[in-house]
Amino acid sequence: MVKKSTPKEFIIERDNEKCITCQACVRMCSNDAHVYQPETDTVISYDEKCVGCHFCETICPTGAITIRRNPSEFKPNANWDATAIRNIIKQAETGGVLLTGMGCDKPYPIYWDHILLNASQVTNPSIDPLREPMELRTYIGRKPDKINLKTKLTPQLKLETPILFSAMSYGSISLNACISLASAAEEIGTFYNTGEGGLPKDLYKFGKNTIVQVASGRFGVHKEYLEAGAAIEIKIGQGAKPGIGGHLPGEKVTQEISETRMIPEGTDALSPAPHHDIYSIEDLKQLIYALKEATRYKKPVGVKIAAVHNVAPIASGVVRAGADYVAIDGIRGGTGAAPLVIRDNVGIPIELAIAVVDQRLREEGIRNQASIIAAGGIRCSADIIKAIALGADAVYIGTSALVALGCSLCQKCYTGKCNWGIATQDPYLTKRLNPEIGKRRLVNLLRAWSLEIKEMLGGMGINAIESLRGNREQLRGIGLTDTELKILGIKPAGMAW
């Protein structure tokens, strides 16, 4: 047979009336999609190499380049859509597991878009956040069962806004991206998370705004590392790949990364799927308390799990094991590399997970014992406020933060050729992310979202985010089935209190 090659995904349209052959696109494309032809003084483009990252489009000084999706060349078929056909062709060619990056892109229901917020009218006054104080400060950590004047709180994380940066390791993202996140967290008064990549020397100075992660590979975990952060997070699972470990290819393990991760240079960094010392809640408890002992009970220790079918009882076990917070990562959570089939088919949406976990912990009377941090596909301030009203204490944002840094979700993180200098270790590419600009943009994003959250809170007549937490009466579902409404614990739109 004639061997089929993977059909091109994008078409690079070059307006030759506008192209001045300055070759900025040629120099900038890490996929070599643009090539200069000196004989004719023209630039030609190879569509099949384009990943759709839009870097050339952004950099072109005359706006001569437009990247378009290749209009489907297959006969329309609801079952055998272009993605399905493309993937089969790729696998028939390579015989391997398909890899991808970022979060699940399948059109599963996005419950955020089926939830509406409330506002005050006549009977209760709304509040203008520009005139009156509005409290977004959030404390993450165990709250006591009862309080009196002598109650001493266990260690808490103080957040000026209920938004943290998700775990993204040095290795999966560049040092410049890590610095952008860390410095933005410091400026706003929140936290970023090291992921399982260890803490590079340059980032120790951001320690008080750092959550250090202990994952199944235990990369870069040592005494100073645990002591450097404001909190410790045990990573059990990740929304993009529940039940799957991690794999940082050896090519990406540069000298700096090998030092940070404490593994030989150029060797694959393999994180096992489970922690080999955790096979039960009791084992998890041992690790939680080992970490608490190691840091003299001065820091909160949290546990991150992926949202799976049994998430509520698992979260209950995690809280009973002594976690100070539970981070739950939904199916739309991002990744630097995961098998496509896992990313797109395993797990449940975070909206449902927050609702069932919050409900379960309340029913068991242990909701106060741990905070809930929701993660996975938070796109805007409305998603955050809905997450909090469903019962989360705060949210982790990963993809949104990367988009603020330039990411256009081309999902090619695993190739290490990120043109935006984010998911790469190639010094030629990492230079492109100036952490000063990165920090500025992240700070802007968190500021903007915080202001919007205040506006929405004010509209509901609430002046503190604390008063919204788990306040599901402020939410109404639209276009949802009775079962979905029941799971989310909200009334349908149109139903009064």
Binding site: P61, K431, N434
Partner: protein, 147 residues
């Protein structure tokens, strides 16, 4: 005096500074007219030096002790009293290229297309922010007051 600071660590080698420099010093200041038109393009007064992944954009440093002013035989090269920039009066320049010989940075070029004169960075006279600084997508060239 505000100086152009080069930050090698953020220069990605896109060379947009060179292009925008040409546009800024053209008659029309319109990028398509400059590159698609028939008029002779001015030379870029900024040049990106590149070796592997290391790159940086270099233009006249406007030295405090400028050898080009010393070496100029006609007094064409002078220091602007207001801005402190080292400029070339093209009316006086005879194209002897002594400035090119003495420039420690190699940032003065022969403009042999039009009148034979020395071509160098003028900090975009009249503009608040030079074109290269304004258009660098990664802020690898910045304008700063630095001693």
């Amino acid at each position: 005096m505000k100086k152009i600071i080069i930050r090698e660590e953020y220069c990605m080698g896109c060379r947009l500074c060179e292009i925008q420099c040409v546009v800024q010093h053209s008659k029309t200041k319109n990028i398509l007219k400059v590159y698609k038109g028939k008029d002779i393009k001015p030379l870029p007064k900024i040049r990106v030096e590149q070796e592997g992944y290391i790159s940086f954009a270099l233009q006249c440093r406007h030295c405090q002790d400028a050898p080009c002013i010393e070496a100029c035989i006609t007094g064409a090269m002078y220091r602007d009293k207001k801005t402190g920039a080292v400029l070339c009066n093209e009316e006086k320049c005879v194209g002897c290229w002594m400035c090119i010989m003495v420039c420690p940075f190699g940032v003065i070029q022969r403009n042999i297309e039009g009148k034979k004169v020395a071509s160098k960075c003028d900090l975009c006279t009249g503009e608040e922010i030079p074109a290269c600084v304004k258009n660098c997508p990664n802020e690898a060239i910045i304008l700063e007051d630095r001693k």
